[in-house]
Symmetry: C2
Subunit: 336 residues, 2 copies
Amino acid sequence: MNDIITLACGSGGKLTHQLITDVFYKHFSNDTLLEGGDSAVFAVNNGRMAFTTDSYVISPLFFKGGNIGRLAVCGTVNDLAVSGACPRYISCGFIIEEGFSIRELEAIVEAMASAADEAGVSIVTGDTKVVQKGCADKIFINTSGIGFIPENVMLSPKNIREGDKVILSGTMGDHGTAILLERENLKVQSPIASDCAPLYSLLGPVIREFPGAVRVMRDPTRGGVATALNELISGSSFSIKLDENTLPVKDAVKGICELLGMDPLYLANEGKVIIIADGTQADGVAAALREHKYGKDASIIGTVTGSSPGKVFLSTLAGGNRRIGMLSGDQLPRIC
Amino acid sequence: MNDIITLACGSGGKLTHQLITDVFYKHFSNDTLLEGGDSAVFAVNNGRMAFTTDSYVISPLFFKGGNIGRLAVCGTVNDLAVSGACPRYISCGFIIEEGFSIRELEAIVEAMASAADEAGVSIVTGDTKVVQKGCADKIFINTSGIGFIPENVMLSPKNIREGDKVILSGTMGDHGTAILLERENLKVQSPIASDCAPLYSLLGPVIREFPGAVRVMRDPTRGGVATALNELISGSSFSIKLDENTLPVKDAVKGICELLGMDPLYLANEGKVIIIADGTQADGVAAALREHKYGKDASIIGTVTGSSPGKVFLSTLAGGNRRIGMLSGDQLPRIC
């Protein structure tokens, strides 16, 4: 096998089959995938299914705390998990630039396999396209995912009630800051790593332990916590009031943000979840999250109130009350 | 709204939401999609499901007979249909180059909506990423699809038996030739259009009418009929013998291929299917295909024989017997 990806690797012919066997099957091996049909085929039971898709175009491909492969699996698994679903099957579509290193591809594929293992999902179907040099930036990955939602789980922004609490499972902006620091023009030494992680093992038990108390969940990726909260509350009869005092941000992240004029509320996270929960059970939910390694910094960051429907506000440390809108413009392109 | 895609359209913030509302929801409107959650959620019943993914990187984006949008829906729907599944749900992931025209995006999205309508599938979940100018070639689309397989349908290359017939649903190489002619350096006037079409309405009735007789199906896309047949027969105890006399190729395609030294057996198709069927019922299957607009040129092109296991041969017009391998190298990059 060559050291680099050639156009013929995407032709559908011999070299495509060799790439599939030597790289993809080597790491993604499972019976459904190895059937090698045009589709993966598996049994399903009566119930509700969640289906989601995301493409990953992050730059750089490798960063502290992960790489595009781990991100591509975690991101899609988390979209299923916050829908209340147990993630089960993943597809992956690679778009690769001619000349890309097969060694780097294999490192990415290994990370996908390992993240899939951790998340308990099988990568069952895939596709590879190769484009000419200059027609893509190294590698883009699409993952689509399928999960199954337990019968009694009905998460929706429509469930939100006055008095509910907003819980965040950990510190804000780790992923966004880590990527920012990796970019060529910012070679700063820093301890900050991406929080990229698969969250079903954190969320599944909480949903089971607190049936009904969990109203809705969302993973605050692109656009950060501020944008995700705006999405959840827009169109509702309630507003969200955040308490700046309680917003969990690592000191190192805070320092970088102050230096660069970024706001952690808008920075991407890849291993965090926002849970809106019944106010009377929110402490219990937060405590349950804190028992898990991916939720150890969980805290209640805000309250659902009845005034100013559809909006998000922040009680600032200085005693003010500031409206927090959705991200406008782009803080940081290609963050995921 | 701007006339072009900016990086902020992929930020996950305000402009992403505006793009989703103004372009995607406008054309893809359905209740599941409009829920706007992290995943699409829908009910499923006991049974077998097919799940497939494909990325589309075709160049040019618009061609005689279709565009990347129609192709992205048809290709994925067809992967489900040849697995014996009734296609039902589609996801779409867009990777767009900064500066791409929103008018062109909308034309692509309209074509996707119209192909989805024709195919009877709903586009229920999606994702948009924008990369800097020069980091992608205009637009790439991933579609993943879900379909459901009727209880008595069990298609597999393992079903193939000696004496089975190979049926092709129409002429070879229309898509590959149409794209070839669209490429900048080949501005030839020609009647050849891509055959790009959703095939479930052709295949569903045949599977129902001939239970058991249809052994396996495959859509001969990248790598053409030759590569698809090699995939189907490799690892089996049988071989396939094609009869050059019976290979359906349009005169115009034949002419272009002779001119350019291409072999229609290796050219991509996007609206054709290979069916391997019980020899005693193959005439009936072919006749049933011919009743449908997408199968009117269907014919039996070969036979499954017992000698030389795993290989494909062609009885040539000149009376020879030539081994037909899998595509090696790349006849034509970015054909889909």
